[in-house]
């Protein structure tokens, strides 16, 4: 029960802070809001008993988002947000896609019968159980699993994904688009950890994919900022609307 409450609280914090990324006009606040969202995800991983992943997420995102902050201050015209410039385009399209993606994800999370019918504890009492999986001796004691934890986690992932899509489609600045991509990947991470926790918690190899996605997040930021730096040096801005021509 506490676990469900913790997951809901951290998930809501992640979604709200993720939405806050695109609502503020101050760039550093935007980056720190994204940091808050990713840190809430790290805490959510800890609540889902993926301890190493949670600590890793907390650590990596602190550094990554601080670097994102400095790049935003470098490449954006009004980093303090005091000029209240309009930084978005095609807003209605972006909102539509974001809402469609988010609702589809939430529907996929809530409607199907994800949770297995068999209570987890029965299949892990040392017998091979109906599915014939091998269990090593000394496995952790069977966790008490609530069957509504998976739909909740998947819905949180869907919410983050929808906000990310809104960000990618509505923002004109390359750095802000990258923040939307980070949110989308964060939603994917939540899904991965939730599925690991509720379907294969005894097999830590399931966390390797999560490590892969985290590495990809870091790498895509590195390459993206390299492209942004090259573009900024050539043209003086990283706005996508000014990059519509192939010339130069």
């Amino acid at each position: 029960m506490q676990q469900v409450v913790a997951v809901v609280v951290f998930g809501l914090a992640a979604v709200v802070l993720g939405a806050g990324v695109f609502r503020t006009s101050s760039m550093v606040r935007s980056a720190l809001s994204l940091l808050g969202s990713m840190a809430a995800l790290g805490a959510l991983f800890l609540a889902l008993e993926a301890e190493f992943l949670g600590v890793l997420q907390l650590m990596m995102m602190a550094t990554e988002m601080a670097i994102m902050a400095i790049f935003m201050v470098m490449y954006m015209m009004d980093p303090g947000g005091l000029g209240k410039m309009e930084m978005a385009h095609q807003k209605r399209v972006a909102i539509a896609f974001g809402v469609i993606a988010g609702l589809t994800g939430v529907a996929l999370a809530v409607l199907p019968a994800w949770a297995p019918d068999v209570d987890f504890r029965d299949s892990r009492t040392g017998h091979s159980g109906g599915d014939g999986r091998r269990h090593r001796c000394g496995d952790r004691a069977a966790p008490t699993v609530t069957s509504e934890l998976l739909p909740i986690s998947l819905a949180i992932g869907a919410g983050l994904f929808g906000i990310g899509i809104y960000g990618v489609l509505s923002q004109t600045n390359l750095v802000m688009i990258m923040m939307g991509i980070e949110l989308m990947l964060g939603g994917a991470l939540v899904n991965l950890v939730a599925f690991w926790r509720l379907l294969h918690p005894d097999n830590y190899a399931g966390q390797v994919f999560v490590l892969l996605v985290m590495t990809l997040m870091a790498l895509d930021m590195a390459v993206g900022f390299g492209i942004a730096t090259a573009r900024f040096r050539a043209k003086g801005s990283v706005e996508t609307e000014e990059a519509a021509e192939l010339k130069g």
Binding site: S26, V28, R29, L32, L35, E51, F52, V55, L56, L58, M59, A62, T63, M65, A66, I67, A69, I70, V73, G80, L82
Partner: protein
């Protein structure tokens, strides 16, 4: 019951480090100086700069304090005497220390002041320099302990302390610890003479008390980390375990606070160059060295 003893130990440790810092700066041991200066600060006017980022301005000292306290929470005073016995304790220390950087960057941006801004971004560069040098020695320490739990790390040093078994890692970790706590010679973010107080130069009154408290807890946490990872934690012959930890922590803290005062401040370009061109190869050599010694010990 244990947590109350731990809280008391942390408060006493913080006070002791404050007294030590005063001693390294003035050469006098003034036991009531921290209390007096803290109360005096609380009584002074609390100024807020013009057009700050108000949310970040208030948050930065709190994040510094919380990050320092969290990093201290997983470090043991004695066997079983710690706030949270995480299986990934050593990594959690590093994760909490990363938020120190977040706090300093926030404090640099928030007051809308040029010196603070420059100091904050310089600390981000400093993080790029020291972060590998913090994590790689921790990796080597975890290799020897076959675990990331801090209690396991201390237990693995029972035959031989890590300062002797992994001297390269000890040197790099100690220097990186100085850089995390922005102590001289790595005190770029608060650069008293160069940047007019740096990131925390615009903080006054009660907020400055929280900043100073956060910094003291950070120094305590890093001294405890050096003790736990390299100096054998609570291991020692005659005294009870908590006494050994306390003695070692205070000795390390005194060294950390005084060592840098004889060396000029390291500028950011030199710091990055030395860290990446010399520090990281040495850290990798340290990991290689630990791996080789562990394999030899296992086979021999």
């Amino acid at each position: 019951m244990t947590s109350w003893w731990l809280v008391l130990a942390v408060l006493l440790g913080v006070y002791a480090i404050a007294v030590l810092e005063e001693w390294t700066m003035t050469g006098r041991i003034a036991p009531s100086a921290p209390l007096r200066s803290g109360l005096a600060l609380l009584g002074r006017e609390s100024l807020v700069p013009r057009q700050p980022d108000r949310v970040l301005f208030e948050l930065a000292p709190l994040v510094l304090l919380i990050a320092a306290v969290l990093s201290l929470a997983v470090l043991p005073l004695a066997p079983g005497l710690l706030f949270a016995d995480l299986a990934t304790g050593a990594l959690f220390v590093n994760a909490a220390l990363a938020y120190v950087m977040v706090a300093v960057v926030m404090a640099g941006w928030a007051p809308n002041a040029p010196f603070a801004l420059v100091a904050g971004w310089r600390f981000l560069g400093q993080l790029v320099a020291y972060s590998m040098l913090i994590v790689m020695p921790i990796t080597a320490v975890g290799m020897r302990a076959q675990s990331l739990a801090t209690s396991a790390v201390v237990d693995s040093q029972a035959p031989l302390w890590n300062v002797v078994a992994q001297p390269l890692g000890f040197g790099l970790f100690s220097l990186a610890a100085l850089a995390v706590a922005f102590l001289p010679p790595f005190d770029l973010p608060i650069a008293p003479s160069e940047l007019a107080g740096g990131v925390f130069g615009e903080y006054t009154g009660a907020r400055l008390v929280i900043v100073r408290l956060g910094r003291l807890v950070l120094v305590l946490s890093l001294a405890t980390a050096v003790t736990v990872f390299y100096l054998g934690g609570w291991l020692g012959p005659v005294l009870p375990p908590w006494a050994w930890t306390s003695i070692k922590v205070l000795a390390v803290a005194a060294t950390m606070l005084s060592a840098g005062r004889y060396v000029p401040r390291v500028t950011i370009d030199l710091m990055l160059a030395w860290a990446w061109k010399l520090g990281i190869p040495l850290a990798l050599v340290n990991i290689l060295w630990v791996g080789i010694t562990l394999l030899l010990a296992k086979s021999g």
